[in-house]
Amino acid sequence: MFTTKPHAKHALRKAFAPVRLWRTVRLGVRSLWLHRLRSLLTLLGMVFGVCSVIAMLAVGEGVSHEAQEQIRRLGSSNIILRSLKPDEDKRPSTQRSYVIEYGLSYADLKAIREILPNVRLVVPARIIRSYVFNATRRIDGEVFGTVPWYPEMRNVRMVAGRFFGDEEMETKKNVCIVSTVAAETLFPIDSPLGRNVRVGSDYYKVIGVIEPESSRVNSGANADASSGRSEGSTLSRVYIPLVAAKERFGEVLVKRRSGSFEAERVELHEATVQVAQQDQVEETAAIIADVMNDRHKKKDYEIVVPLELLRAAERTKQMFNLVLGAIAAISLIVGGIGIMNIMLASVTERTREIGIRRALGAKRRDIIIQFLIETVILSGAGGVIGVAIGIAIPYFITLFAHVMTIVTFWAPMVAFSISGLVGIVFGIYPAMRAADMDPVEALRHE
């Protein structure tokens, strides 16, 4: 007699929510597929937004990376002092032949050291390859013009005697310090201290023996690493005062012009101040600028602070990113509005379907989810295509224009997430419109 079957909802087991969501996604894809061209055109806004953001970011990132690399190579805790030739028109034009003296001098460095005893002042040494003689003994060595604080600057130890001092530096004394390798070759039996070596036509009095520096510099603190004989002739060094080296080995650059000549005398072309802590760089640079300003009447030097350049480059990049962000936001909003527009049309078009679904048990949130998912699929698909194109474009830019581009990991991630977010934001309103329809009215709609 029981003709009525047990109630459906008791007999048919319920599905898990994620499974239902997956079915809704598939339904959404089908609805969108029904209007393929329309969906595609709608996505395009999103695609262009996302791919242009990624491509622009990649180019910007590449350019600023190159700039920052260049600056970083100068050292971010360094301050670089350079000699700068003063403006030419300030010189007397009547003089036909002259020698210009300008730029950094050893005295400048000394002054800086007195005021800032804790900074390391690195001076590129002048290296002259030359034979070094002790009577008939000869080595193919390097004559190294440098500053009195060279041992501490390079962290090398004296083996015997001492390094030359300020006094010997300023008076351009013919003194020298020989490396152990040079000492062993030139003076195999007795101590080299107090003896003379000859370089070219000049004699230099040996006042000290220094350990070979390569062993320390290259292999860290490992000082006794078999005294680095394998390094060969590079270690057969003779250190002489820089100023003396400049004079003996000719620091005057002569330029000949028709009937006249112009010579430049520069004591030091460049010096690098190494600051221990990066946060002291700017303060130190300011002090150095003061010192230099007091000592030089003309602006015949420049002070380069890589850290400041780096900061400026970072600021530029931030500005760039800000502008880019604005462009991105605008294009994504435009894309979002396009999607919203289409979804509103779709909701109106499918009023009947909404009424049917509501009559058959769909709750308001079911309708909201259905339309929201369609919007998110649209914008998400736009995002995916945009990311793919956006990654491809920088690749081709590098390939054909030879401009460095960098696609950072987060650029596609952010662009894609934003496209999804835009889908939700711009999908809410059409979905709400759909859900707010009165079922009876919706069913009557034609």
Binding site: T3, T4, H7, A8, K9, L12, A15, E353, A359, L360
Partner: protein
């Protein structure tokens, strides 16, 4: 609820248990400053297993009545008991739940979702009831076969004749095994042969103990039901058992 349906059948078709009851139901629409009373003071009682026709001239409130019975709309005043529960003041979500679990709708214009296939259309109510996909597919296929569309499962609605589409509509209305099936002019758009097929299906459902409430303009159609309610100007004019 279930038990009532079953008990009723044991009475041999004599309706005893109330399954849907309207008490002093009024429905007014506001048209600008004018109030249109689509239903006024309607008292009706539907028994489980009844096959009822609602008739009356156009604009007398038949569809309005059916929408109220189908929980698609709320009465302006009065009470509507579905089973023993007054549903006239339930929330939108609760009404959706009731429609999805206890009511079946058949429309004059079929109202199939155009982008879905026959079987998928039948599955729609089951989907919102959260029925597992495999079970719902199986049930929908069975129902399609029961209305004679076992070989049209993957057809889209536009590939079917009107009569076939309406049979899909009937199968869909049966999917959640509803307490009451509500049909608004189910044969209104059909030629007499297709209409007869649909009515034959209704007879079958009635024979199986389903409660059917149908709006119709056709006296021949109404004659097949047990009970005919005539409305006029929003009031019950007559209520007779055949």
């Amino acid at each position: 609820m279930q038990n009532r349906v079953e008990t009723q059948r044991e009475d041999g078709g004599m309706a005893s248990e109330s399954i849907a009851r309207l008490e002093q139901v009024t429905k007014t629409y506001r048209m600008g400053p004018v109030l249109v009373e689509a239903l006024s003071c309607v008292n009706l009682d539907f028994k489980a297993g009844e096959y009822v026709s609602i008739m009356g001239p156009s604009g007398c409130g038949k569809s309005t009545l059916l929408n109220l019975l189908g929980c698609l709309d709320r009465p302006t005043s009065g009470a509507y008991f579905l089973g023993t529960e007054d549903v006239s003041h339930l929330s939108d979500d609760d009404l959706s739940e009731i429609r999805g679990s206890r009511l079946g709708f058949i429309f004059q214009s079929y109202n199939l979702v155009q982008q879905l296939t026959v079987v998928e259309n039948i599955e729609v109510p089951l989907y919102y009831q959260g029925v597992r996909a495999d079970l719902s597919r199986q049930r929908a296929s069975e129902l399609a076969a029961r209305v004679g569309l076992g070989d049209r499962l993957d057809h889209k609605p536009f590939e079917l004749s009107g009569g076939q589409q309406q049979r899909v509509g009937i199968a869909r209305a049966l999917a959640n095994d509803p307490l009451v099936i509500l049909a608004d002019e189910p044969t209104g758009n059909l030629d007499s042969r297709s209409g007869a097929e649909i009515l034959h299906l209704f007879d079958e459902l009635h024979g199986q103990g389903k409660t059917l409430i149908m709006v119709t303009h056709d006296d021949d159609v109404a004659r097949r039901s047990q009970r005919v309610i005539r409305l006029r100007d929003g009031r019950v004019e007559s209520d007779v058992y055949n």
